[in-house]
Symmetry: D2
Subunit: 305 residues, 4 copies
């Protein structure tokens, strides 16, 4: 598995109602943008905030709208292993290709406990299980030796690392270099190009919700070793990161910024699931608007790339 997988936002009409029209539009937007897979119910999808019923509805609708054109990945991260396993079963029935699980995030496990957790999950899940390293939320790093041990499980095909820690990601690449079937994806948008230049499988990048083309082109340039294009397009990624992801107080500004931009693009409304909510000041909304223009300008410069 290679390329760009979009950790899709969850378009909402209200806290417990999916924006079906928005969902359909975003799915089309992503597929038209050339992305290689859609990952629902990740952090960007506000998965943990959603009631179980809504999660199931989102999986079923996403699968229907995607219609097999790209693989569907489903986040099953849950503090209860039983719930995760049940959601994997539901996902398979709904037509998903694989599931993605971060560590249980209430109790902080030791590495052996983490190993046992993933082995149990991979044994019982009816779909392949991608490991999801997300220490800022889960309070735990999945150590490289744990990942290499888990990589031998036939039902664990890869990892998504959202730690943002450069040496960690490169250690995974190095230790897993003799297992080319095991995918090593990077989470933060800002690191995707560098990760792929040195052999990473691709990115699970939130920014591809807004600008799928950008990430797809950047991925290809990096995979082909076209450094000039990489450096050029990286500017757009960093513009997104420095402005769109940096407005407003509190954390999860990247997520709030993305929903704001998708709303401006008329893809869906601006609704977030509690406990998160929007709170942009006017000048912050302005900054985001101008930044979108700068990103578009970089992307439109066809002569340059």
């Amino acid at each position: 598995m290679n390329g760009i997988i979009t950790p899709m936002i969850t378009p909402l009409l209200s806290d417990d109602t999916i924006d079906k029209k928005g969902l359909k539009q975003i799915v089309e937007h992503l597929i038209a943008g050339g992305i290689n897979g859609i990952f629902v119910l990740g952090t960007t999808g506000e998965a943990t905030s959603l009631p179980d019923k809504l999660k199931q509805e989102l999986i079923a609708l996403s699968s229907e709208y995607i219609g097999g054109r790209v693989p569907l990945f489903v986040g099953i991260t849950d503090p209860s292993p039983g719930e995760s396993i049940a959601l994997a079963a539901f996902s398979k029935n709904a037509g998903a290709s694989a599931v993605v699980a971060a560590p249980p995030f209430y109790f902080t496990l030791t590495q052996p406990e983490l190993m046992a957790y993933y082995n149990n999950l991979a044994d019982k899940s009816v779909l392949p299980v991608f490991i999801y390293n997300m220490p800022a939320q889960t309070k735990i790093m999945i150590e490289p030796s744990t990942v290499t041990a888990l990589s031998k499980h036939p039902n664990i095909p890869g990892i998504k690392d959202s730690s943002g820690i450069g040496p960690y990601f490169n250690t995974l690449l190095y230790l897993l270099k003799d297992n080319p079937d095991f995918s090593v994806f990077v989470g933060p948008d800002e690191m995707m190009a560098q990760a792929v230049l040195l052999g990473g499988s691709g990115g699970v990048n939130s920014g591809s919700n807004m600008f799928p083309h950008l990430f797809v082109r950047l991925y290809k340039a990096a995979a082909e070793g076209d450094l000039q294009t990489v450096r050029y397009l990286q500017q757009a990624v960093m513009e997104i990161s420095s402005v769109i992801y940096s407005q407003g107080g509190g954390g999860y500004r990247f997520l709030k910024g993305i929903k704001k931009v998708l709303s401006a693009m008329k893809m869906t409304g601006n609704t977030m699931a509690l406990p998160l909510h929007h709170a942009f000041k006017d000048e912050e909304s302005d900054a985001i608007r101008k930044s979108v223009d700068r990103v578009k300008q970089i992307l439109s410069n066809n002569t340059r790339i």
Copy 2:
């Protein structure tokens, strides 16, 4: 509300089967011990590890076995506000008196987001909502100014603070001193006596699963200002903390130790819900056994107290 509320362990036959006989025995053990309330589905109850169905079963059975003799508190902590509110409704129907909620524990909220979260929860919950400060698990301290603001909500009757941070707890006591109806409970066993000596409402102490009498007597001694008894019984609490809660690797040793002791007492088996599991070496089990004897010896010394 005052006194000792036991954050009851969840007796299990397997990962998804309640040990009903064990549950009944523990409920009787606690009530015979004189505790003032039973709190199911807290951290000690491994709540976040349990599937939703089992949570509901546990609430219903606990309510039935308690039969109104002491109030029943139910933990509704969940990263999804919708799920928490639904569980509060279920709990009321099952006969519970109040619910207890730690902050959502995937996304880390700002203090204003936390305030909005609790206000929304208290507005929509059909039972009173106790705040549960548990930063080691949730990654966030509920700041004193947030607590004092929330204390004005008519459906928020108190807080349980499990941070273990002395100055924080005493700040709560001081800032809320003019609101005697607002309860301030302390979580860590080791701090209960001191908290009550200075005006705390009582303890939600895990050790009372094993030795309810100890905590009830210690609470009373502290509430009455009987310092000699406090100092004497505190030894038993610290024996539990230093030995029973300190065996084995990894975190949550307190929880593993309690289940081990309850199993030795024939109250229930030794089963934990994944992702946690027991892993005591022989010498560690031995240390626990001897420690139980020392605690019992302290408790049996009637001449001293």
Copy 3:
């Protein structure tokens, strides 16, 4: 060793000039207040911010002004063991009674490294070495088992715990109960009374710079088990904590508040050593002023206590 040891602020005319007149006045203020020892060059003394030369000058002057009326303790915390040992030698020559050392605070040691560090320090220091647990600054907790092992060194007479973690402090008390010559002091003002009620040796409390009488009386009440007085005076401690220590942005507000109050008392000026500096808004200065009045009022109520 028992009672209240004041971690004295460092009165400054400028970043590298001691306010000698202020120093003399504060020493007299503390001794008149009945404190049991003066500890210079602790966190409250901004020790790590001061150049070596000024540290030596402060030690010499403090010793001269104290004139043997109470013991002088000197903080020798330094990331370089050699510098700490040299400062201990200087302190002895200057007439100090003991030194106090937190762990080296650049490299984060393991517990065995920490044990080796303190054993080496205690072997080479010409004065007794108190251990200083200060994880917020040093990034490391000195585990109870490390403390108990170190307590056997003949040149280590005690510990000051500024972690603020209740269960940790009580664990120290319990594990060291058979070694009554080993002192266990508590750092945070807010915890002193409770610590002493259960057997702690006393407090090394910053607030005693401003109100030595308050802490001395509170210590005595706690040591004598006079709970009514403890509860009454604790109000003044919490008033200080909740208001005087809580103004202004950033950390170390307690320190900035203390210097502000001492300046209002005409004890010394308001100068802090870089990298810290004052930045109170007018309403914050106001809040501090009013809080001082409330503390004084509590203290003046002689009929009550």
Copy 4:
């Protein structure tokens, strides 16, 4: 300023005696390896563990042995601003080109306090001051907006970022792209090639103590966009990281591994400054030895690159 700057280890005969012969040998080894500068008294140089006198001796000797062939950088990180400024003056007299300062590491400053700290330092330092971001030791991230503000100070020519956080480093590159005279160096060996591929100034990489040629060649390949060579040589960097930097318990294994390898190379002995010390088991020493062979084999494969 571009290229590879070696954060040189401090060769010691004992805790307070420099290994002069070793120092001379290492200086020659590094210059022969083609490195672009030598940085003494960094983290790798165990600076904070060394007494002041030894620091001065090391600066003077290093300057003498280097003899102007490459620029000398001196770490002046100290919790006391006065000490840092004095060491900068000493360094200039000894012939150094610039100094490097991490934030004061006892008190944790706010960003405005950090800004004031660096502005004051840059105003008073007689040598240019490089900013050193090292949150694992200093407990604080220097936020991008703080760095961009400081980059305007005429006496602040650049930053070394040792955070290891990919998005942060790339944000610095992006925000400072219009200030090409401001250098942005990366600390972790593992990230150097990727940093330079996207426009970073170079690396301050510990591994260049052992294998200066490797890092110089990798830097050049990255700067020239020779991706094939980058991918090939990166293997050697990751071999070092995964094995040589990963033996033994505790932190700072990278540092212990480097001294071990330099000792095996007969460059200097194996002595570390307290509070750190070596503690390799035989099999760990073995693993390091074999890893050195693998690195050498990668480097000797001239046909490949």
